[in-house]
């Protein structure tokens, strides 16, 4: 889960990492009042995605009036499909120099990796491609803390003159990273100003698997992804018109790929996980069919723990009227197929057939 900037900055601040003074606003009036208090400000759209600046979601304002105008412009706008409901109004700080500091997970080395760049405020992946010498990376051993010498080496690389303060920020960022189960904790840019170093932006991705011990407010409650998660399933929205319900992530991706192979386009990825019951199948069908673009639905179940008759019951009870292609195999297969046949559902035997049929069905309904 990606935290909103303001939430990440609250955490940074709690750990003692310097951040600009700021307040949250949900309407233009409040934005004006805050600007009145802070003076020269930056208004920043609060959405859990990158590229806000390019999308026009970050604007400066030197007075109350401008802040109100700009707030009206940003609030309600859509950035990568996300509607802006909150604004962070922050005192404007002019950086003398912008750097990058981030900690993430190196999957191959199976440990945290700290990355720093003397060039900040830009896309770090771009810097990595074009000027790799501007980036310093160090692995952190998972069973020891970040060693002091590592923080010092990074600090010397970033800025020889501010070593003590940068070491402090690095050590605090590492604590943010480990204590909050982050998969990413990033300061971009880390700005050098007349008053020392300050985190002008803050990004934190939290491991979804760690939510049982981390208490973060879920920001978007109403998306299909959130609803699926609450029901123990996994949903990702896509651009096509064939709704998909599959058990198992690998099989679900394979199903999507086959749809594409046969000339179709999936409307979503949906993994109902192992052992999905009737109610979960109903929720899944409701979620998938609530997408108005969906013209046909493909259900692909390879029953192991998941029981085919249970799935069949869920399908029958859902009352969804969009045409469904069903492939059911494994545990209690015969009972499941019998039930679906009684209800005149379209049954096929393999994933390939299911994909082909779903594409055909979608086309015929155009």
């Amino acid at each position: 889960m990606m935290l909103y900037e303001y939430a990440a900055k609250e955490i940074f601040s709690r750990y003692g990492i310097p951040v600009p003074r700021s307040f949250l606003a949900t309407d233009a009036t409040d934005a004006g009042k805050i600007a009145d208090k802070l003076g020269h400000v930056v208004l920043k759209a609060q959405v859990a995605t990158g590229g806000r600046g390019k999308a026009g979601g970050i604007l400066r304002a030197e007075n109350k009036h401008d802040a109100q105008v700009n707030a009206r412009q940003i609030l309600g706008m859509s950035i990568k499909g996300l509607t802006v409901k909150k604004l962070l109004i922050e005192e404007y700080i002019k950086p003398e120099k912008e750097m990058y500091l981030g900690i993430t997970i190196d999957r191959k080395a199976r440990c945290p990796i700290i990355m720093a760049s003397s060039e900040g405020g830009v896309d770090i992946e771009e810097v990595a491609r074009t000027s790799p010498e501007k980036i310093k990376k160090m692995h952190i051993h998972p069973l020891t803390e970040l060693h002091d010498y590592q923080a010092r080496e990074i600090a010397i690389f970033l800025n020889k003159d501010g070593v003590t303060q940068i070491i402090d920020i690095i050590q605090k960022l590492y604590r943010v990273f480990t204590e909050n189960d982050c998969t990413l904790a990033e300061i971009n840019p880390l700005a050098l100003t007349g008053n020392g170093f300050i985190a002008l932006d803050a990004k934190m991705n939290i491991d979804d698997n760690a939510m049982f011990r981390q208490k973060f407010m879920e920001e978007e409650e109403d998306t299909p992804t959130a609803t699926a998660r609450k029901n123990g399933m996994s949903y990702v929205g896509l651009d096509g018109d064939i709704g998909c319900i599959v058990n198992g992530a690998g099989l679900a991706m394979a199903t999507l790929d086959m749809i594409k192979y046969y000339g179709g386009e999936a409307a979503n990825f949906m993994d109902v996980r192992a052992g999905a019951n009737k109610e979960q199948i109903k929720v899944a069908l409701r979620l998938v069919s609530s997408n108005i673009k969906v013209k046909s639905i493909l259900i692909n179940i390879f029953g192991g723990i998941t029981k085919c008759d249970e799935v069949a019951r869920g399908i029958i009870d859902s009352g969804v009227s969009i045409p469904i292609v069903i492939r059911l195999t494994g545990t209690n297969e015969e009972e499941g197929r019998r039930m679906l046949e009684e209800h005149d559902m379209i049954l096929v035997s393999t994933s390939e057939e299911a994909a082909k049929e779903a594409v055909a069905l979608g086309h015929s309904h155009k």
């Binding site: 997970i105 999957r107 191959k108 199976r110 440990c111 945290p112 992946e125 990595a128 051993h141 998972p142 069973l143 480990t178 189960d181 998969t183 491991d207 979804d208 698997n209 760690a210 049982f212 011990r213 996994s234 990702v236 896509l238 599959v246 058990n247 198992g248 992530a249 690998g250 099989l251 679900a252 991706m253 394979a254 999507l256 790929d257 086959m258 749809i259 594409k260 192979y261 386009e265 999936a266 990825f269 993994d271 996980r273 192992a274 052992g275 390879f302 029953g303 192991g304 723990i305 195999t329 494994g330 545990t331 393999t350 994933s351 390939e352």
Partner: protein, 287 residues
């Protein structure tokens, strides 16, 4: 005798008294697995389907000489269960649990590196050697003994391929799931090496997906192998930045797309299948 397990494997089930643990214990017994002990703290002295339950792995190892373990405990307790198995000398630890925090797994893997234990998973279906033993949750009916090795990051997709192979008359030497999380206890390379050394295996099917570089990392090893490897990579249609079910299945800005992986394999001369049916067709032509 398969890689990793065989008829002599003495399995311990950690979390045996839970719904999944007890159900899967029965399934494994039906398959022929020698399930010798279970552990659920506080439930020592009971039995599950004839299997004695102990309070600790230490007791299970002392009394029943378990040398392999399968873990069905919830994410919150899974890392500790792995440590307990490792500290008590369990050689093969199969962790089925999905949803273990990645920070826990980084520590666990660093800890295991200096031990005698091998970890399969987490978030994988386990390992099956038809005719010998099964550890994990792969459905019983799909397997048939033979000479094709299979290693995969996913569950049901693996079942589907195994099922198609069996129905086409192609048996498996051993099928291994390494798990769908960002961090896996055992890599593709380690399993490929075992298959390469296994006299019963004549070809290997490798099923990968988007996210990370685990597949590419294996290419140099595959090039040195004497046995053919047939690869299948799913997630061609996955968008960047979204987790596709498996915690590890995410295309990050740094890479990890299916196309990159497929191209890497193809330019290294490794055959890549387009679908489960395609994989089976290719394998059939080889063996």
């Amino acid at each position: 005798m398969g890689i990793l397990i065989n008829k002599d494997t003495r399995l311990l089930v950690q979390g045996i008294t839970g719904a999944v643990g007890s159900f899967q214990t029965k399934q494994m017994q039906d398959f022929g697995t020698n399930v010798v002990a279970g552990v659920t703290p506080g439930k020592g002295g009971n039995t599950v389907n004839g299997v004695p339950v102990f309070d600790s792995v230490r007791e299970a190892v002392d009394v029943e000489k378990s040398n392999a373990s399968v873990i069905f405990v919830p994410p919150k307790f899974a890392a500790d269960a792995i440590y307990e198995a490792c500290d008590n000398g369990i050689e093969l630890i199969v962790c089925i649990t999905e949803g273990i925090p990645v920070h826990d797994m980084m520590r666990v893997c660093a800890y295991l590196e200096n031990s005698q234990s091998m970890l399969l998973g987490p978030n994988g279906p386990g390992v099956t050697t038809p005719g010998e033993s099964k550890i994990g949750i792969m459905p019983n009916p799909i397997h048939s003994p033979g000479n094709v090795g299979l290693v995969s990051r996913s569950g049901t997709l693996t079942y589907e391929i195994i099922d198609l192979l069996s129905k086409s008359g192609i048996g498996q030497s051993t099928s291994v799931g390494i798990g769908g999380d960002q961090i896996a206890g055992t890599s593709f390379i380690e399993i490929l090496r075992l298959f390469e050394e296994d006299p019963k295996t004549s070809a290997v099917v490798m099923v990968g997906e988007i996210g990370g570089t685990a597949e590419q990392d294996a290419i140099e090893f595959i090039k040195q192998m004497s046995k053919p490897v047939i690869a299948y990579i799913v997630g061609v249609s996955a968008p960047a930045g979204k987790t596709m079910g498996h915690a590890g299945a995410i295309v990050s800005s740094g890479g990890g797309t299916a196309i990159e992986k497929i191209q890497a394999f193809e330019s290294a001369g490794v055959t890549v299948g387009k679908s489960p049916v395609d994989i089976v067709r290719i394998v059939k032509n080889i063996v």
